[in-house]
């Protein structure tokens, strides 16, 4: 196992008019070569900011970061902009949530793909175009030869996301960071995009960091999972481990809110309350106001990330026996709903 990306104790905070927002608060994880790391959490949990920080794409004027981001042995955090620029789009590529707005509306998609090639390679425009065409075919754009000169508005959402993926992969990156790439798409298109990403991952032998709020997507594609809440990792495990024996009440809530095909269509479980304000996070465990198992220590003690089993960590104050007991019961409830 070789980690192509090592993130250690990453912290990012934003200066706002109302005060300091700690968007990412001590996050550590590894991304293995050719594997997929899933980062799950609600809106505002810090998952996107984590990845933007890795890419060096935060607004330098009001964001400050600390910690370490090691890519291929090189420290990215605090590296000169010019160095980051060389890595961005070449070794680490990124695709975004909304394919409708992520492409420049006044440039043809061919131009935009060629740009991605030309920025990093000393090739002619026609060579860049050939490469662009190759990628458009690889991501399954029908009649790519004619569509290469079309503009973004002439494509559907799913096709635009394919174009985004083609653009990200055009330089054979080591890592593809995908920030909720399927959220804005309809369900059948989502499945197609995920299948495509899995296939391309094998072909290009790249690592994927998949940011999502959807554990269904995680189950589809991830090898390792990081669950984030209020800027912190609350659980970290392999995908099998996470679904088999989740340890954190927040993860239980996420699992409970997954829709299932079997069983009666009851209302989906909802984690009560709202994600906390990062401007004034709750005391102690940030999840305690929404946690049905919270006890007297939760609002007082800030829980540490503890190793529960090999590579399986969680940030919960409940003792192991109690957690096991709750999960056994939860599992029955979830199964019961399914049956």
């Amino acid at each position: 196992m070789t980690a192509v990306l090592q993130v250690r104790d990453l912290r990012t905070s934003f200066r706002t008019d109302d005060g300091i927002v700690k968007a990412v608060d001590g996050v550590s994880f590894d991304v293995e070569k050719g594997k997929t790391l899933g980062i799950v959490g609600e809106s505002g949990s810090g998952k996107s900011v984590t990845c933007l920080t890795v890419m060096g794409l935060n607004d330098r004027r009001n964001a400050t970061s600390s910690g370490s981001v090691l890519f291929d042995g090189r420290e990215l955090l605090g590296a000169p902009p010019e160095q980051l620029r060389e890595i961005r789009g070449d070794r680490i590529a990124m695709i975004f949530q909304d394919p409708m707005t992520s492409l420049n509306p006044v440039k043809s998609i061919g131009w935009q793909l060629e740009e991605a090639v030309l920025v990093h390679n000393d090739v002619t425009r026609s060579q860049a175009r050939a490469r662009a065409l190759e990628l458009l075919k690889a991501v399954g754009i029908p009649r790519a030869e004619t569509r290469i000169d079309d503009y973004p508005h002439q494509f559907s959402g799913g096709m635009r996301q394919r174009v985004m993926i083609a653009m990200a992969l055009v330089n054979n990156p080591d890592i593809l960071i995908a920030d909720e790439p399927t959220t804005a798409l309809d369900v059948t298109t989502q499945a197609q995009i995920l299948t495509l990403m899995r296939r391309l991952q094998r072909e290009f032998n790249m690592a994927i960091v998949m940011i999502t709020h959807d554990l269904g997507v995680i189950a589809e594609i991830a090898d390792d999972v990081v669950v984030m809440y209020a800027g912190k990792i609350v659980e970290q495990a392999t995908v099998d481990d996470l679904f088999e024996r989740p340890q954190h009440p927040y993860t239980w809530g996420l699992l409970g809110s997954l829709p299932r095909l079997q069983g009666e269509s009851e209302r989906l479980y909802q984690i009560p309350g709202q994600p906390p304000s990062l401007l004034r996070p709750p005391s102690g465990c940030a999840f305690h106001p929404r946690c049905e198992f919270a006890f007297d220590r939760c609002p007082v003690v800030v829980p540490e990330l503890v190793e529960f089993a090999d590579g399986h960590r969680h940030r919960c104050l409940l003792d192991d026996a109690r957690r096991l007991q709750i999960w056994e019961q939860k599992k029955l409830e979830l199964k019961g709903e399914a049956a």
Partner: protein, 323 residues
């Protein structure tokens, strides 16, 4: 495309009719007697009646209007001035180049000023330069062109003798017996008028461009461009400016079309014999044909420039088709 042009043409006719009819009605409503004014004090009632008949002012208004439209459509004639019997076509032909000099020259200046300032302000929002630019905007928007004109011509022209105080020199034909004429004298005489005329627009455009660029900077596709590894320079020129300056093309076309109807204040302050000053003069004399002529001319300018803007927009923005 054809459908677009046909619709535009019908729209132009509608604009023309409403503009001229309204002007006619206003003149009919306003208590005035051009025939008496033109004839002079010494005229008898009979003389005035003769003049009135000669100018067709004794006809009902719809007949006068019909005659006007017929002359314009059949002979391309805007009629003759009540006061000096000059062809209105000729009067406009004399005045329009002056106004065009002012407006187009001014437009070049206000773009040269507002583009760099607006873009820089957007990129360095809240910096010292940005604050200075915003102060300029406030002053430029609030100060009246007449005031600016008087100040400039007093200090730069009268006190420092750096520029002419007022007056116009023709670009092509030097007037007889003077050196006033030719491109150099023309530009020299236009310096202050340009400055005066463009200040308001420059201020408005700085604010407009700044806001547009700032908004575009937050677009997702700009983030995509950065994620690609594009340099900041590339991001700015290829992605931000191309998108944020599209609306500038629109309002530029409209502003120029509008201003060609007459930059009344600037022309008055600097005694430029343009359309604005002409319309003011003709209004004092109730010279309906000249005023109508200028109204028609402005309407045509606005229609033409709107058309240019629409076509240009369709060329610049692939999302727009002329349908």
């Amino acid at each position: 495309m054809l459908q677009f042009l046909v619709r535009r043409f019908l729209w132009a006719i509608f604009l023309f009719v409403s503009a001229t009819v309204i002007t006619y009605l206003i003149f009919y409503v306003v208590p005035s007697d051009p025939a008496k004014d033109i004839c002079g004090r010494a005229c008898t009632e009979e003389d005035v009646a003769r003049v009135r008949h000669f100018l067709h002012l004794d006809e009902p208004i719809y007949q006068q209007y019909g005659r006007y439209v017929w002359n314009l459509v059949a002979h391309g004639s805007l009629g003759t001035s009540y006061t000096n019997r000059q062809e209105v076509n000729h009067i406009i032909g004399q005045a329009a180049p002056v106004t065009a000099s002012l407006v187009f020259g001014g437009a070049v200046f206000w773009l040269l000023l507002s583009l760099p300032v607006g873009i820089y302000s957007a990129l360095r929002a809240r910096s010292l330069v940005d604050r200075a630019a915003m102060t300029f905007v406030l002053v430029g928007v609030s100060a009246h062109p007449v005031w600016i004109g008087l100040i400039l011509s007093y200090f730069l022209g009268y006190r420092l003798h750096l520029t002419p105080i007022a007056g116009y020199c023709d670009f092509f034909n030097p007037s007889l017996g003077s050196d006033c004429g030719g491109p150099v004298q023309w530009a020299y005489h236009m310096l202050l008028p340009w400055t005066t005329f463009m200040l308001l627009f420059a201020a408005l455009y700085v604010r407009f461009i700044r806001a547009n660029v700032m908004e575009t900077m937050t677009e997702d596709y700009v983030r995509t461009a950065r994620a690609k590894g594009a340099s900041e320079r590339r991001v700015l020129f290829q992605h931000v400016l191309r998108n944020s300056l599209l609306p500038v093309v629109t309002i530029l076309g409209m502003d120029i079309g509008l201003a060609l109807g007459g930059a009344i204040f600037t022309e008055s302050v600097y005694s430029l014999p343009g359309l604005g000053r002409q319309v003011l003069k003709s209004y004092e004399q109730f010279d309906l044909p000249v005023i109508l002529g200028i109204v028609v001319f402005s309407t045509i300018c606005i229609i033409i420039f709107n058309l240019i803007v629409d076509i240009l927009y369709a060329v610049l923005d692939p999302r727009i088709r002329l349908e």
